[in-house]
Amino acid sequence: MRKNLNVIAAYSIMMGLIILVGTFQSWNIALSIFNLCLISAVMTMGANIQWGYAGLINFGIMGFTALGGLAAVLISVNPVQEAWSAGGINILLSLFLIIGIVLAVRFVLKRYQKSKIRNYIIAVIIISGIIIIRFVSEPGIEAIEEVNPAKSGFLGGLGLPIIFSWIVGAFFAGGLAFVIGKVALGLRADYLAIATLLISEIVIAIIKHEDWLTRGVKNVVGLKRPAPYEVNLQQTEWFINLVEKFNSSKLNLITDLSERQVALNQLVIDGSSVFVKLCYSGLFLVVVIILLILTQKALYSPWGRMMRAIRDNEEAANAMGKNVVKQHLLIFVLGSAIVGVAGAMLVTQDGLFTPGSYRPLRYTFLIWVMVIVGGSGNNFGAILGGFVVWFLWIESAPIGLYLVNLTTAGLEDTHFLKVHLIESVPYFRFLMMGIGLLLIMRYRPKGILPEKIEIK
């Protein structure tokens, strides 16, 4: 029980902080922090099972997040019929060609011995394949992008409820992870880090520039929601009644009827956005809890024991007949799939897909700070890391501003140093993250909630 006290205390403090934001800033801000904390927690769980369970460094989190986001678009947006009829055939043909190339390469790999000639053949297949695909796809892509470019200019999606994309996003990310894992998992730890970082940049480059598929930097906005729209809520009878009931004491103080109506309207508007955010919180919380249960169960299962054995002594595990390569691949795929879920959740919450916003600092390195700070190898720690770091990331600007005002209190408001520092308050978050990470790595290298494995 004593051991769990840490966990309970840490989470209570975290919740307390969010409630403080709710009461002093606004519930709207508190809930949006909370929701992103939950999404971050999902990402850290994904990174944590790779790093904490298996010691694999995945610096490609950004790429898997973006693929999850892409899934949200491809699932929820209605198909653009015109675009399909304009260039759909070319795209489908190209897709078959890609499959053909992959099969041809596989055939060559299986059929012939390793040799220079085989490498040349493969190179010829791939290069000629790419050239043919370009010729086939180019007219299609041009036609698709010409269809109503201001609004669509892409193929659209399947028009299904966006919530399905959470699962599809997992498959997208898992699929990419399978390919990367096949290729790169044999590399040394720091090479793997660099390779995954660069591969994730390739993924982003494709998403950014293949407009026919993703609309690229033109962004996809107005995605469907799993939660009600604020505007609709504000006109729904039961919701207005609910808000009235909730705030009856406050409203009863106002005697003037028209004033009371104005106040109620304002409350309904505020309440509607809080309500929507609460809906998301509920959905996200369900995902986090399901994942937590699954990962905890996995951690304490024989499989989890084997993974830790592999992590702690790869050679010994190998010698005992454990297929290290296969297990590493499995865990790489699973972890990345979880990150894919988070990516889809993120786009679902935002209601828009902006490929330009995927940057390694925010979506790879920040997540790693979360994992290290929280406690690698411990799921509760990883989730806590997501909460703490995201909270600080958002709240460091106000904290920074406060600190600047405090330290420069002696200076006049127009003093150039004070003005300069106040302008640079947004960058204090980098400073905080960096110093936080360095301090944790130095003085608490296992994180706030270290890995604890009881031997039963």
């Binding site: 040394r188 730890a189 720091d190 090479y191 390739i202 520039h209 600092l361 790595m441 130095r442």
Partner: protein, 336 residues
């Protein structure tokens, strides 16, 4: 005549820019490879360290400009470089003392040091943005072109112009000087050889009486020289923006690994491999073919293998291929 035009076209749009860009990458890649070879970790703060050095150089440049000190047709920034190197070196030694040293003495695994370098990356990024801000800055002054395209056309009477920016020439010349001195130092001096020995076999180096503290300090000083000069050259040629510098870390890593990490000469060549393949694969050859082919065979499309949007992706794909087939790099890594 057409053949000459085609040649000038390639020189102007491929060879000269790739040579300059490659030099900038090469310097960064040698920086990465030195840190990797001697201090034994992948330094994820590479781009930001370069941006720190460049920022200091810019601040000095502004100061010199404000007191009316310039280098005539050369950019004032060249004058600022030595001062920037000193401050950059002190910054690196301070970071080493407070951050990296602890892990080095504890013989922490390279992965842990790489994670720590991410902390340094965040801090350095914050420092740069707090001091100079995140915006795009140009600090080039002096003569912009060595040869202008129009002048070239007038002189030679060709249709195609060859424009050579002075920053490109400066980049290439400085790189040649810097890299020659560095290789001379590593291969011919006792200290340089002891650095290679330390990188090759740390235990035996200690047994031979080589002082690790001295090696570490010299490594950081060389790193400061490389980071500052590399950063300033890039900034002069293009512009200075902290975010771009952070991103430049990626092709620089690619160059270092392609060249064989830990091998400075490999890193040097790796820079050019990356730069040339990026530009060769994303250049639209339409005009080139218009010159060399008869009119009847002129192409319709742009004849571009990949759109310029995929410039970075090219270098990363090369890296992935190299990692697959020759993880030790084209020029065999781990020999300093």
């Amino acid at each position: 005549m057409d053949f000459l035009n085609a040649l000038i076209l390639l020189l102007n749009y491929i060879f000269v820019p790739a040579l300059a860009y490659g030099s900038q990458l090469a310097i960064g890649a040698i920086f990465v490879t030195l840190i990797y070879g001697i201090l034994r970790f992948a330094n994820f703060a590479t781009g930001d360290m370069m941006s720190f050095g460049t920022m200091i150089a810019i601040l000095f440049t502004w100061h010199f400009q404000s007191i009316g000190l310039t280098l005539g047709f050369l950019p004032t920034a060249l004058l600022a470089i030595p001062f920037a190197i000193l401050i950059m070196g002190s910054y690196m030694l301070i970071i080493d003392k407070f951050v990296f040293k602890y892990y080095r003495l504890n013989k922490s695994p390279p992965v842990q040091l790489a994670m720590v370098s991410i902390g340094v990356m965040f801090v350095t990024q914050a420092v740069v943005r707090i001091i100079i801000g995140p915006s795009d800055r140009r600090f080039f002054d002096g003569e912009k072109f060595l040869i202008k395209a129009s002048e070239f056309k007038d002189i030679t009477g060709l249709n195609e112009g060859l424009a050579i920016k002075s920053t490109q020439v400066i980049t290439i010349v400085v790189t040649i000087i810097l890299v020659s001195i560095l290789f001379w130092f590593l291969n011919k001096t006792k200290t340089g050889k002891s650095m290679r020995a330390y990188s090759d076999n740390e235990d035996l180096a200690l047994l031979s009486g080589i002082d690790p503290k001295k090696i570490v300090i010299i490594t950081w000083m060389i790193a400061a020289i490389l980071a500052t000069i590399g950063g300033v050259l890039y900034g002069l040629d293009k512009s200075f923006k902290p975010f771009t510098y952070f991103n430049n870390m990626l092709p620089i890593f690619a160059a270092a690994i392609v060249g064989g990490i830990g091998n400075p000469f490999g890193a040097f060549l790796g820079g050019y491999v990356i730069a040339f393949s990026e530009i060769l694969l994303t250049y639209a050859y339409k005009k080139f073919f218009m010159y060399v082919l008869p009119e009847s065979m002129e192409p319709d499309g742009l004849i571009q293998l990949l759109s310029t949007d995929y410039k970075f992706a090219v270098s990363f794909s090369i890296l992935v291929i190299v990692l697959l087939y020759r993880p030790s790099g084209i020029f065999k890594g781990k020999i300093l």
